[in-house]
Structure formats: structure tokens, C-alpha cells
Amino acid sequence: MTTTLAQATDRPPAAGRAARARVGRVLPAAGWALAVAVPVLFLGVFFVQPVVEIVGRGFVDDGRLDLTGFADVLSRPRTWRVIGQTLAQATLGTLGAVVLGVPGAYLLYRCRFPGRDALRAFVTVPFVLPTVVVGVAFRSLLVDGGPLGGLGLDGTLTAIVLALVFFNYAVVVRTVGGLWERLDERTEQAARALGASGWRVLWTVTLPALGPAIAAAASLTFLFCATAFGTVLVLGGRRYGTVETEIWVQTTQFLDLRAAAVLSVVQLVVVGAALAVTGRARARTERALSLAEPGRGARPVRLREPVDAVAVGVTAVTVLGLLALPLVNLVVRSLRTPTGWGLDHYAALAVPQDTLAVSAWQAAGTSVRTAVDATVMALVVGGLVALVVSRRPRRAAGRRAVAGLDALFMLPLGVSAVTVGFGFLVSMDAPLGLDVDLRTSPVLIAVAQAVVAVPLVVRTVLPVLRAIDPRQREVAATLGAPPGRVLRSVDLAVAVRAVGLALGFAFAASLGEFGATSFLARPQDPTLPVVIFRLLGRPGAENYGTALAASVLLAALTAGIVAVCERLRRPGIGGTW
């Protein structure tokens, strides 16, 4: 570090060396401090503070701390029923996603077949679709007299669970597939050479190796399912209410902040537990990753192999029956006009919707611009978090701090959107004591979307940074590269692919984000999901048709973005989720 041998200075050599040594130590330290400070400040101002303020109001009565709300809310039978329903729905949704997703991961990441890349993009689309659209797509399929009305699923727990699986299938496929394609296939080959059948290899060799990835996927899915809001309300109504929908009702309809605050704490406990499991499972995944090689094991599908046949069968049924059917139904309905079939509703997308003042295309433009802002913010913040968390400090306290930071930035996935939205209302009139009212600024919508997208960026970039052998950095440093250069030529060079993928996901998620934004004070320019929502609130078959066409536009936009990102992804590098 202090090799300043040949440098001539005016000062005595010893003093110069000491000063440089100090700078050498201080600069990286300052850099790391900044890398921690920026994301912590961002999350502190735009997430922690609003949430603490709104939840705090529920616990403060006339300036005094009042925790009687706990006794009150927790003694209501409905509260416990709602907690039970949340856990039951999340558990069933998670089971479904894992049972269907693992064969999908095998087929999409371990096998080769024509159209595989397109299929990978397609299965990701539901994850980023707004629940408004999914509600329309699912219910019109399941309602009495609908194409699947005969199954009697409308308004049942099964319908909700199916929708939860619809949303989260991609999480399992990607998380498990990411590890599966890297699994060293020689262990499996050895087992086969010793005479084990395909199933036996799967049960005794492959699945145990995948265990941590499956556990990680399951916890993430559980987290998403436990906090699902629109899906549950639209498909099941309050009969199947969850903690999240109950917080929504108590906050927006009753303004019972006390009950909402207690329920928020309950949700935090559930989410915290899920995060602890996620963290543990992920840590194990990452250890396993360091043992594996980038996968070369993809081979053509062999239908005569029972394992392949089952994977193809399960995945075909899932993709066609669960994922494609609602989406196709949406497209078909958007093409139906009062006089038959046609593109009338799509033509209407270009016309300002009489009193909305903007056309759906203009709203799509607003959506894209807002998503760009959100993505840039999410990339900067999430990238810094991933960079910091990817380091393995020598001291235990440092490691705990890093793990804590990691968990902190996952929290936005688990805290109710209405809590964040109402928190913005009470805290963003003068953030940090500054004289700027952010509440009615379009910037706040982008910020809210960024807060949601940050965890996706972290989860995509972090595993790649962690997979870098620390010796690479040491070698670079030994060869004389200053810390900034090491970062650029080692970390950044490797991470840039994952950054491309993260960019796509953050972008797509922002594009469809509706939860947090629907609770914000919105200025004139509506985003596409908002326009869809408004069109659905007006009478007339044309408005309904246009809303469906706008939904298809939104789905196509998100699908296109994911597909582009799928092409950016090179096998072997990229996020595990």
C-alpha cells in the first residue's frame, strides 16, 4: 500500500509516506462509509421514517405511549382468523409454487430445447403484472359462465392460491434454476455409473444439493404471498382477508391507526421470521454456489427418461393451464367489440380517453419515464448495498452488520404498501426538515417504486459479487491497482451482466407497480396501471374493452423488457432468483 519509493517530494520521505499511508487507508474507508451512507439515508428517509411515523401515530395517544391497542386488537377473534388465513394462504401458495416450479427449473435451466429463452421470458411475465390486470384475467375466466366457470372455483381459496402460484412461479423457477444450471454434474454421473436410476439420483444427489436454493425460493415466495393485497381482495374479497388487506381496511376506510399499527407489527413479525429463514437458506445457497462450476450440463430433452417426461408434463400443464390461460383470456376479451371481433379497443389506446386528458399510449410514456427514474435510483442504491453486503468482514460484529444491512433492505417487500403510502403523507411534507413538499411531486412515485425495486436489484447482483474469489481482488491489489481500479476491473466487470438483469427486473417491476403508488397523492400525469384502473371505474362496454387492451399493452411492455434482459444474461452469471 505504501510503496511510494521513487516519488520525489519536498517533504521528508518519512512524513510523505505516513501521509500517503493515511490517505491510502482513509480514502477507501471514506468510500465504504459513503457506500453505506447513501443507501441507508435513502431507505431511512423514504421507508423507515414514513413507516415509523405512521405506525407511531397508532401507539401515541395525546402524547403518551399507548400500547393497549395490542390487547384490544389481539383479543378480536377476527384478528386471529386473519393471521391464520394469511399463514394458510402463504403456505399453500408457496407449496404450489415449489411443487410446480422445481420441475420448471429443471426443464428451463438444465435442458435444451427450441424456444427455451422465450419460455424463460414468458414465465416471468406474471411476476411483474399488476394485480388489477390479473384480477380481470382470472375472474373473468373463473366466474360462472366463464370458460372455466364449471369448475366452481370463483371466490374460493383455491382461486386465490392459484393466483398466488401464478405470480410466484417465476421466483421458484429462477431461484432454483440459477443454482441447478451450475450444479456440478459429475456427482450425478458418478451415481448413475454406479447403477442408480434417474429418480434415485434426483432424490439422493440432486435435490439435497438444491435444498438451500429451494428453501430460499420458498421463503421469498412465502414473503410475496403473505403480503399479497390486490390478488386476495379481487379474487376472494374480505372473506379471505389477510393481515395486509386488514391493514388496508383499517387505514383507508376506518382511519383506525391504532388497529393498523398493531397489525403492522404483527405483519413485521411474520415477515421478520420469513426473512430470517430466507437469510439462512440463502447463506447456504451461496456456500453451495462457491463449490459449483458454471453449468455446462444442459442437454436436449429426452422424453423417454421418466424424469424428463414428468418435468415436461408438469411444466406444460403449468405454463399452458395456469400461466397462459388467463393471459390468453385477457387478449381474447380485448379483441371482442360490440359488433364482433376487431382491434377497436387497441385503436382507442391512441385517443385521449375523453375526460382522462391522456391516451393510454401517453400514460405508457409516463409509466416508462417514471420507471426509468425508479430504476436509476434502485440501481444506485441496490448496487451499493450489494457491493457492501458482498464483503466478508473479518470481525464477527462486521459480519453481523453486513447481514443486518442485507435484511434491512429486504423489508420493503414485507411492509404493507398502504402503511408506506400513508406514511409518505405524514412525513413527506418536509422531509429531513427541508422546505420541499414531496407529497404531490411525481418524484415521490418514482421513489416509492425504487424502494420496492431495490431488494430485487440486491438479490440479482449480490450473488454474483459474492461468487467472486477474493483472491482475484488481492492479486489485482498486489499488482499495484488502487482500490477504485480493483473495484472497476474486478467487481464491476463481473457484475455488469447481473446489473443488466437487475435493470430489467427493476424496470419491469416499477412499470407495473400499483400498490404503493395507488395510495400516493397523484399529480395530473397518470401511469398506465392508473389509467387501466380508471377505465375500469367507468360505465360503458368501450371503457371496459379499452381497459383490457391497455392491460395487454402493459403485459406486452413488461414481457418485452424481460425478454431483452433474458438475452443479456449469460449462463453461469447472473442472479440466483
Binding site: V136, R139, S140, V143, G145, G146, G149, V234, G237, R238, R239, T251, T252, Q253, F254, L255, P338, T339, D354, T355, A357, R369, T370, D373, V376, F422, L425, V426, D429, A430, D437, L438, R439, T440, S441, V443, I445, A446, V496, R497, V499, G500, L503, S518, F519, A521, R522, P523, Q524, D525, R534, L536, G537, R538, P539, G540, A541, Y544, L568, R569
Partner: protein, 361 residues
């Protein structure tokens, strides 16, 4: 060091995004709406709900005439609107609020969210007819009204050879089993209006039994109006299974088939609850003078005449004409059910909880 193709592509994508930022919402030259105005009379901010809309050019005309520029801030929905205003009353989101309805009016008045102001528009006489009882100072001014009523698919009933129901009581008839869908009063404001209609019709002692009867007769509850109308209703365009839906007295004109001259649905005018939407100047508004001007504008003939077209509500003004198809197919109820706003304010949550226990279980 060689750059793999993919890396270049990723870099290109990142650059493209960075370039796009130049034209993004943050990067645009448009000043961030502060919502508070600068007190100089330059900006007036209207806080309203999701359904607020005016035909193109109307607001521009007001801006040109008054020299004010209007910011519109839209909130989630009518119910949440009042609660958001209560939360932010120390530092209001804008100057004028529009869209507080009679189910929430008392809460807004009790919380002191709005303050009285002088309104000079001629329609103020008509508006006074809808004043909230007890609001003697006139902090809330009625701007439009609407009747929330059950709608029936007359074509469906004709095809079945069954007479359509006409009253609330008739829906308890087993002949109409499994035919009705209504939105949840807890999550939807028309749903709440219909709950109030039943309270008005059957009294505080009878409405619970009525709903128990509806439940036993196969009532379906949807999340919101659009779910009920577009997905469950037979004539909403979604081909749903139920020919009786909760909607508005103004819905039938939108079901006139192309080339026909009569709608395929009708509103049951003996099942209605009248919704009144109010506007008021927010306490602590940065620009109360501008807010008063904007309120006058909302009561002007041009806005009043536009309300049926843009917001599907009836104007309070008696001076403007309704659209022709409304005159023919969307009359208002003669005697809608009523519940005093003060009663609503006092019992709303208790009623909603009782309703949930009875119907949702």
C-alpha cells in the same frame, strides 16, 4: 481486456437508460408540484378522488380567465380521501377539496378539514338544497349528486320470461335466488351507499335481517363496483352470470346497443340512495382566494353541464340541461332512501362491522 458481446449490450442498455433519464420525470424541466402554491395567487391546488374528470379544455379556460394555474392532485378513492385529509390537516395537500360525499361529510366537518367561504355562482342556491344538516356556515358546498340504485338486465329477464324485481324486498323472493351482486360496502363507496339505502329502508332494527335474507338468497359480494359490474353482471360487457347489480341511476344509457334506441338495462328507482358530492376550501390552504374562485367555477354552468359527460353524476344546478339520453333513460329517483349524515358519522363503523359479521362471516 476483451469485452464479451453481452457485456457491451448491458453497458449499452445502461447508457440508454442514463440517456432516457434526461427526458424522465425527474429530469424534466417541469417544476415539482409543491401543492402549497406561493401565496401570490399563482397556483391553486385541487385535491380530489380518482374519479374526478372534466372535459378537455374546461380547466384551461378557467386558467386563462382567472390567471391562476390549476394543479390537480388525485387520491385513491372517495372514502380514503377524507381520511387522508384528516391525516394531513396540519399541512394540507392543497387548497380546495372536491369529492367528499354525504357518507363522509360529517367526519370532514367534525375534524375541521374545511372552512366556510363565500360562493357567488348562481348555482349556489341549488347547492344549498343539498347542504349537510348542521353545516350552517356552509363549509361544504354540494357540486353534484347521483343515485346509487340496483340495475337489472331487462333483456335477460325478458329472455327468461321472468318479471324483473322492482323493490328491495322482492330480492328476498326465492325466484331471484343467486341473481344479485353488490360491491363490498367496506371497500367501495357505492357499496357503502347501498348499505345506507337499506338502513334508510328498513331502519336501524331491520337492515341486518334484510341482509341476512339476501345472504341466504344467494347474494354475491364483489370487491368494488367495476368488479361487480364488469365481471359479475350479465350486461356489463364481461358476460357475467348475475342480472341484478348495484350501480347508478345513470348507468342504463351506457347499455344502448349499437343501432338500437333503447338500453338493455334499467335502474330500479325504488332502491336508491342519493350520493351528494361536496367541495370545500381546506383549512390552512395556501391560496384560499384561488380556492374560492375554483369552487365558483365548479358551480358554473359550463362545469355543471359537463358533469354528466365527464363524471357520470347529475349537476346540482337546475339551470343546465342533461344530455338527451339521460333525459330519456336516466331519471333520478323520486324519493331515494335517506340517512342523516350525523347518524352515518356516528354509526358507520359499527354498521360496517355488523354488515361484515352478517354477510362475510
Amino acid at each position: 481486456m476483451t469485452t464479451p458481446r453481452g457485456t457491451r449490450a448491458a453497458l449499452a442498455a445502461a447508457t440508454a437508460v442514463a440517456a432516457l433519464t434526461a427526458c424522465s420525470a425527474v429530469g424534466s424541466a417541469e417544476p415539482a408540484a409543491t401543492g402549497t402554491g406561493d401565496g401570490s395567487g399563482g397556483t391553486v391546488t385541487l385535491v380530489t378522488h380518482e374519479s374526478f374528470a372534466l372535459s378537455e379544455g374546461l380547466l384551461d379556460g378557467f386558467e386563462a380567465e382567472s390567471g391562476l394555474s390549476v394543479e390537480v392532485v388525485q387520491q385513491a378513492d372517495a372514502g380514503a380521501l377524507v381520511n387522508q385529509l384528516v391525516l394531513t390537516k396540519d399541512n394540507p395537500l392543497g387548497d380546495l377539496v372536491f369529492g367528499i360525499d354525504n357518507a363522509f361529510a360529517s367526519r370532514a366537518l367534525d375534524e375541521g378539514v374545511v372552512v366556510p367561504v363565500d360562493v357567488t355562482a348562481p348555482a349556489v342556491q341549488d347547492a344549498a338544497g343539498y347542504a349537510v344538516p348542521g353545516d350552517d356556515a356552509g363549509a361544504l358546498t354540494a357540486v353534484d349528486v347521483g343515485d346509487v340504485c340496483l340495475n337489472v338486465d331487462t333483456a335477460w329477464f325478458a329472455a327468461q320470461g321472468v318479471p324483473a324485481p322492482t323493490t328491495l324486498e322482492s330480492l328476498l323472493d326465492p325466484a331471484y335466488r343467486d341473481l344479485l351482486v353488490v360491491p363490498d360496502p367496506v371497500t367501495s363507496s357505492p357499496g357503502l351507499a347501498f348499505l345506507l339505502a337499506t338502513v334508510g329502508a328498513f331502519g336501524e332494527d331491520g337492515w341486518v335481517d334484510y341482509w341476512a335474507g339476501l345472504r341466504d338468497n344467494g347474494l354475491q359480494v364483489a370487491d368494488g363496483w367495476s368488479e361487480a359490474y364488469y365481471t359479475d353482471f350479465t350486461a356489463g360487457g364481461g358476460d357475467g352470470p348475475r342480472p341484478v347489480v348495484l350501480s347508478y341511476a345513470s348507468s342504463p344509457p351506457y347499455t344502448v346497443p349499437e343501432g338500437a334506441d333503447a338500453p338493455t338495462t334499467a335502474a330500479l328507482l325504488d332502491t336508491c340512495f342519493r350520493q351528494v358530492e361536496y367541495a370545500g376550501v381546506l383549512d390552512g390552504a395556501a391560496n384560499p382566494e384561488g380556492a374560492a374562485l375554483l369552487l365558483d367555477f365548479l358551480l358554473s354552468d359550463e362545469v355543471q353541464a359537463d358533469i354528466p359527460v365527464s363524471m357520470y353524476m347529475y349537476p346540482v344546478s337546475s339551470a343546465v340541461d342533461l344530455p338527451a339520453e339521460w333525459e330519456s333513460w336516466a331519471p333520478m329517483a323520486d324519493s331515494p332512501f335517506e340517512v342523516a349524515p350525523a347518524d352515518v358519522a356516528e354509526h358507520r363503523e359499527e354498521w360496517l362491522t355488523t354488515w361484515s359479521d352478517t354477510v362475510i362471516g
